[in-house]
Each structure stands twice: as C-alpha cells, then as structure tokens.
C-alpha cells in the first residue's frame, strides 16, 4: 500500500550518467535498463542522493564522469558527506542491472557487472543495502523520494531491448 503523505513538490528527472544530490526534498525519477541506480538516504537528516551509471569502471579514457560506477558511487557518497551526512548513518537501495540480450555470455553481461560493482563498493564503505531489485530482462522506472527514502518502482512491461540506461 502506498501511504498518502505529502509528497515533495520539487521534481527532477535524472538522465543516464547523471548524479543528483540536493538538501531539499525531491522526487527523482529515472528509467533503468542494464544501468544501476544507487539511492543513498540518511534517516537522521532525511536527505538523499541518487546516481545512474551505465558501465562499471572508468578505464582512463575521456573525462572521469559518473557514467562509470566506480566514479558515480564515490561521488555520490562524497555528495552526501557534503550535505552533512555521516557515513555510518547512510543506507542504500539498488536498482537495475537488467540483461539487455538473452543468453549473453557471463563476462559480457554489463548489468551483472554493474550490480556486482555496487555491491562491492557499498560493502567497502560499510553502507548496508536495505532494498534492491536487480537483474531480470525488464527495464525499470523508479521514483526516489529523497525526504522519506522510499522508492517506488514500476517494471517495464516490454522487454528491455534497445532501451538506453
């Protein structure tokens, strides 16, 4: 059941490769295929931040943008700390990592590798993952309420093929 409480008025649409951290309550929407979004929330300060990365690791090419998981997760944590959060208070919810093509060999499955990276890095920072919905073959749309930390997720009815993000 979805609770009817007052929703934040501010809305933000997060594009693939983007990062969003803001002290004001927001509803952040993003659409995920093989990408991953990590939602971080601080229950004490009631503020949140979210990323949306496409690939696991930056390989030194081009700019080091949050298109890459290792950059996106570190920058998201940094952003939360800038808001005044303490790392030990943070909790995480992780979404996405769908398989773009069926029967793709293990090493090439970017969704799996994206998800593994989130798990690994959040463990390294001792941030518990309190909710997640990963893998499968369907895209997802999530709406993150940065005030309450709740995430509303809808699974795409169509298969994820050719979908960006």
């Amino acid at each position: 059941m979805v609770q009817e409480i007052s929703q934040p008025e501010l809305k933000h649409y997060l594009f693939p490769g983007g990062l969003f951290v803001d002290p004001r309550p927001h509803l952040v929407t993003t659409v995920l295929g093989s990408c991953i979004s990590v939602c971080l929330w601080d229950p004490k300060l009631r503020v949140g931040g979210i990323n949306h990365y496409l690939l696991p690791l930056w390989n030194g090419e081009g700019l080091s943008t949050p298109k890459y998981g290792n950059i996106a997760i570190e920058k998201l944590i940094d952003g939360m700390l800038v808001l005044g959060c303490e790392k030990q208070n943070l909790i995480a919810k992780v979404f996405g990592g769908a398989a773009l093509w069926k029967n793709q060999p293990g090493l090439l499955r970017v969704g799996d590798r994206n998800a593994a990276l989130a798990d690994e890095l959040l463990k390294k920072h001792n941030i518990p993952i309190v909710g997640s919905d990963l893998f499968g073959e369907q895209g997802r749309k999530i709406i993150f309420n940065t005030e309450t930390g709740s995430v509303l997720m809808r699974r795409n009815r169509a298969r994820v093929e050719n979908q960006q993000g």
């Binding site: 983007g18 090419e61 081009g62 700019l63 943008t65 919905d133 749309k141 809808r154 960006q164």
Partner: protein, 297 residues
Amino acid sequence: MSNDLNAHEMVDQELVEAVKQRLDSNRKALHDLKEVTRKLEEINGKLQESEALKSHFLSNIRNEINNPLTSIMGLSRQLATSGGPAETTAAIGQMIYQEAFGLDFQLQNIFIAAELEAGEASPSYALVDMSSLMRTVVDLHRHKIDQKQMIVEESFPADLSFVTDAQHLQIVLMNLLDNALEFCPQGSHIKLSAGMTDSGMMLSVEDSGDGIAADELVRVFDRFRQLEMGTTKSHRGHGLGLSISKALMDLMDGTISLNSEQGKGSIVELFLPEPCVDVHMSAQDSNVFLFDEPEEF
C-alpha cells in the same frame, strides 16, 4: 588376447587424449589470464597517465590563464592612458577582445568539464535552428578566421532545424572549429557540414591541416591531452576540448568520431539521433501504461 591388447591400447589412447585436453585447457586458461593481466596493466598505465596529465594541467593553468589576463590588463591600461588616434584605440580594443575571448573560451571548457565530471550536466531539449546556431559558431570565431586567413565553407541547408540541446551542441561545435583553426596552418580550408539522415542528424568539421598520426589518434579524446605537450608546446589550451565534446555527445546519446591522415587533414563527424523527448520529459507522470503496478522499496 589381441582383444585385450586392443582394449588396453584404447584406454591408453583415451588417457592420452584426456591428458592432452587438460593441458590444452590449462594452456588456454593461462593464455586468458595473461590477456586479462595485460589489459589490467594497460588500464593501470592509462589511469597513471591520466593522473600525471591532471597535475600537468594544474601547473599549466597558471600560464594559460595568467598570460591572457596580463595582456588584457596591459592593453586596457594603455587604452586608458593614451589619447591616441581612433585606429589605435580600435586595434587595442580588438586585441583585448581576442584575449578575453580566448580566456572566456578556456574557462567555459574548464567549467563544463567540472560539471560533466560532477554529473551535473543534463541535456535540455528544444527545437533548435541549426543553421543559425552554426553561423553563430562561425561568427564567434570570425576574428580568428580573419587573422589566420582561413576559408570556412558552410555546407548545410538554410532551414535546418533539429530537436537537441543547443547549449551543449554549441560547446561541441565551438571546440571543433577552434581546434581546426588552432591546429591548421594559415590559409587552410575548413568545411562545416550538417544534414539530416533517416535516424537523426549528421554534422562534420573537416580541415585540410596537418592531420594526426594513426598511433596518436587513440588518445585524442583523453582529458588534458594535447599531442604536443611540455614546456615547448606551441598551442594554447588545456587539451579538454575533445574529451568534453565526447562526454557531451554521450550525454545527448550521440556519437563522435575523428578520422585523420597525416598530411591530409582531419574530419570530425558527429551523429545525433532523434531524441525520444516525450519519453524523457513526461516520464514522471504519463507513460504509466507501459509499466506494471508500482512496488515500494
């Protein structure tokens, strides 16, 4: 008896086969491991190089920003004190503008690079008059074009319009034209083209400059990378232009490619797909029919 012998031989042969297979798979595993290690070493080298380039950038920024600023201050002071003829005043004014333009351009690049690395840049789409955007880009570089006596050919339909992020695309085109102007010898020919395809828009900037050697081509999109580095480098700038362009094209779901042959010039091609704006823009409210019932986490 001979049957027994045969059976033995069979078993032996099977054993030999099995051992051979194992050895083969071991060899393959070793080969794979070597390959993975080589890739890791390559990436490690690349990351180290990127760090080195970053510190180089920081030490270089002093020259790149201080020099034009010193010129601007010197020239404007001259302007303030000399009551010289109008032509001199105009000439000094033009020099100040050029220095300020260069400085502003570089600072804009640094800011957008920082914005991109922070993940704060997001595209905002609108219907853009491409012809006038491209003409603006050329006009903004007019003083440089005239100074180096370059010929800029504009090859695009007069009424070309496309749904895209005007600001981001302008930064990309500014950088591509600026590169062509900076790295081509005096009097070179530059061609700016644009046109529609079935699935989007193609743009290109073609020059008749010195071109880039094949082994250098792989690095051109790296940040802070200029092909001629060090204290003796003869071109200004931070080596951010192409890495910014690449990141901006990524953001707009487009592609950028650079083809070059030494001595024959370079061509940079951009492709922008028709953006599915309605999906992105209205994703918050509409579009519900495509999705299952919500679940809360």
